[in-house]
Amino acid sequence: MERMSFDLAQTPLRELNSFLHRDAPAKGVQKVVVTNPDGAHNIAVGLDCPVEVDVHGHAGYYAGGMNKTGTVTIFGSAGTGVAENMMSGRVHVKGFASNGAGASMHGGLLVIDGDAGLRCGISLKGGDIVVGGSVGSFSAFMAQAGRMVICGDAGDALGDSLYEAVLYVRGSIKSLGADAQIEPMSEADYAAVKSLLDAAGMQHDPKDFKRVASARSLYHWNADADQEY
C-alpha cells in the first residue's frame, strides 16, 4: 500500500505511531496523512524509515521528535520541541513553532515558515534549521554544531555559549549571548545560506545575512594556576 490516512479524532495516537514504526517500513508505505491533530503531542516521533507524514492542523509537543530519514510536514503550527533530536530527514512547519524548535538536533533539515519561539536550536549538535520568520530569545543556546538561518529577527542572548554551530541572521539581533560574535561573511557563507534557503524554498538575498559564531573564549576554563600568592 502506498498511502494511509489517520484521523486522530477517531484513532488513538498509539496506533498512528505504531503503524509508522512497524507497518510503514514493512509495507513500504510512502505517505501517511494525519487529520484532526488538534494539538496532540508526540505525532510521528521516532520515525525510522523514509516515509512522508503530512499533518493537517496544529501539532502539540515534540512533533517529528527524534526523526530519522522521515519527512514530516505540518500544515499548521507546532508546539514545544518540534523535530527535537532529529538525526536525519526533514521536518517542515508551515505555521509557527513554539519553544525549543530543533532542540539537540544531530542532522536533517528543520524548516519553519513562520516565527519560532524561544530557544530555537538550543543544544544543536548538527543539521540545519531555517526559519522564515523571527526567533525568540536564547536561540542557539549552547549550539555545538550545525547551522541556522534566520530570515527575520533574533531576540536576546542569541548564540549564548555557542560552540561550533554557525548562525546566519537577516534581520536585527536584539542582543548577542556570551561568547557570540558577528563575523564577516565569506563566499562559502553566502553559498551555504543560498543552498539552505533553496532547500527551504525561501527567497532572500544571501548578501543580506550576517554571520554569528563563537569567539571561543570560553573553551578553556581560565585556570590561572602558578600564580604565586
Partner: protein, 453 residues
Amino acid sequence: MSSNDHSKPVAKEESFGYDSKTIAYIRNAAAHGLYEIRGMGAKRQLPNFDDLVFLGASLSRYPLEGYREKCSTKTVLGTRFAKKPIELEIPITIAGMSFGSLSANVKEALGRAATEVGTSTTTGDGGMTQEERQSSKTLVYQCLPSRYGFNPDDVRRADAIEMVIGQGAKPGGGGMLLGQKVSPRVAKMRTLPAGIDQRSACRHPDWTGPDDLAIKIQELRELTDWEKPIYVKVGATRTFNDVKLAVHSGADVVVVDGMQGGTAATQTCFIEHVGIPTLAAVRQAVDALEDLDMMGKVQLIVSGGIRSGPDVAKALAMGADAVSIGQGVLIALGCNHDSYYQNSAHHDASAGYAALGTVPGYCHHCHTGKCPVGITTQDAVLEQRLTPEVGARHLKNYLKTLNMELTTIARACGKQNVHHLEREDLVALTLEAAAMARVPLAGTNWIPGVSGF
C-alpha cells in the same frame, strides 16, 4: 630567661571555624580567583546508614538458616506501564557514570560484571558506547540536560531509559568534563571540539517542570512503543515533592541520589553544600510513594554513598526496591588503591598520586584525567592500567559480597525475601538519624518530632 632563649613552649590553639582546611581554602581562592573542582562525593561527616542498626531475630522473631533456607533477591523494576520491565537477580545496580568521565575499559568491566551477577549498568552523561551495550546484558540509557550522544537508535537498543533531572553531588547543576578528558573519541560522541572544557546545561532543552516532563516521558514511550521502563532520577533536595511529581509525570521508577553521591568533576562547594543526606532522602521518597499509594507500583532506587551490604539492607528496609552504586564500584575496580594490575603484575601507583599532589586513600582528582590506576581517564597509557577482565572480576566479587551480606542480614531478621525487610527492623543510634529516618532511637520508643520521649 634571656631574650636569646629559643626554647619557648609552642602554644597552638586552633580555631574551629577557621581551621587549617578553611585557611587553605581562603588562601587558594586568593591565589587563583577560581573555585575548586574535584571528583568523588561529599567527604564531610553526615548522618548515614551507619547510624541505623537492625533488630535481628531472637525470641520474638525467628531467623532463617544461612544455607538451607532460601532468601530471594530477585528484583523487578518498571512494572507500572512498560511491557518489558527490568528483571534483576540482585537489588544492586550500577549507577550512571559517563564514558568520558570513565575509560572505555572501565565501561566494559562494569558491563561484564553486571551481566555475570545479573544486574544492570547505566550509561551516564556521555552517551552509549558499543563496549557497554555489548558487555552489559541490561543497560539503562540516560537522557540528561546536555543530551550528549543521545539518539533514538540507542534508545531503541536500551533496556530502560533514565530521565535525569539531577544527581546528588550537584542538584541543580549540569555535567562537567575538563578538556584533558575530552579525547577525540569522547569529543566525537559529544559533538565537541577535542580538548576543550565542556560546559553543560543544567536544564533540559525541551522541557521544564513536571507537567511538561509528563509529555516528554510520553514521547519516549511512543518512541519505544511502550516497551521500556522510564526511570526519573533526582538529586536529593525537596525529595518528598520531587518524588510525588515524578510519579505524577508518569515515571515507572524513581531514582533518588543523596548528597553523598559522587561525580567525576564539579565544584567542591556544590558537593559539600547542596543536597540532603541519602538517609533523609530515602524517608522522604518513601513517604511520597506511600502518600500516593504507589509503593510497589512505582519502584524506588536509592543511591548516594551506598558502600556495603548493610547499607543495601538498610535502604531496602527503609522502603527502597533497589540501590545504585557509583563510588563503591570504582573503589572495587581500584580507585584510591596504591597499585594497579597490568600484564600479570602489580605495579606501584604512588608516583601517579604524588604527581597529583595526593596519596592513595585521599585522592579525589578524577577531574584531572590522570587517574593513577587508569579508571577516570582517557589517556591511552593510563587506561591500560585497568584490564576489563580483571576489573570485572573484582567488581563481581564486590557485588557478590554485598549481596551475601544483604541476605545474611535479611535471614537474621527472619526474611525469606530481601524485599520483606521493613523499617520496623531498624533502630537509630543518633538523634539525627532517628529524626531523618523517623525510626526510634535504640532502646526507646522515641522518634524526635513524632512521638514523646
